[in-house]
Subunit: 123 residues, 2 copies
């Protein structure tokens, strides 16, 4: 996996799996790869993976069944809420950062539009 050395790996793993759940790569009720397999997949240690999983279990986003595996929650409402939360968190961060750089609300929106436009052309 491609880790950002500025933030804890367990945290990045957590985010990575959350993304898979939200995008439907991992469906509600579906079994996750085993912790050992996940460790191989993301090139990290079992304990590190377990730490990420533990937080997700505490958040009730995945359910752990000893001897059987870890499973994505069946509660689609929870998944939707997670998505909203992640999106909002992202928006909050950009907004605050750009605002702190003295960009007005309008400038923030237009700069994003320009960025997307440029990105499209870059292909």
């Amino acid at each position: 996996m491609n880790f950002d050395d500025k933030v804890p790996i367990y945290y990045q793993i957590e985010n990575y799996i959350y993304h898979e759940i939200i995008t439907g790569t991992l469906k509600p009720g579906e079994k996750l790869p085993s912790v050992r397999q996940l460790a191989v997949d993301v090139t990290a240690n079992v304990n590190t993976v377990q730490r990420a999983l533990s937080e997700m279990i505490a958040a009730e986003m995945i359910e752990s069944k000893r001897g059987r595996g870890n499973f994505v929650t069946m509660d689609t409402t929870k998944i939707d809420q997670l998505k909203v939360k992640l999106v909002t968190t992202q928006l909050e961060r950009v907004y605050e950062q750009l605002h702190a750089l003295n960009l007005s609300d309008e400038e923030i929106v237009t700069s994003l539009q320009h960025y997307i436009q440029q990105r499209g052309q870059a292909k």
Copy 2:
């Protein structure tokens, strides 16, 4: 200072000072507070502050004069470029994150607009 325990303090200090330079709180050529004072200001250790400064010195955003102090670069072009870079980095991150959550280009823009709107009402 209000540190995010998920990212290194020296990195947050760096960002903090960059913000002050870009917003003009620290003007081109202006002397920064002494490392010892900065350490007090941000409630961190001198060495941690020094680490942040070292990176900025390497980036030639500030100039170090032994015995006199640290000074913001006089090169306003560099400052402008820094602002562009920071803004772009932020935009890149949101875009990629939200895109990874399966939001379309339009949805990304409108969700930002909605966020800003809501934020205005929250006051």
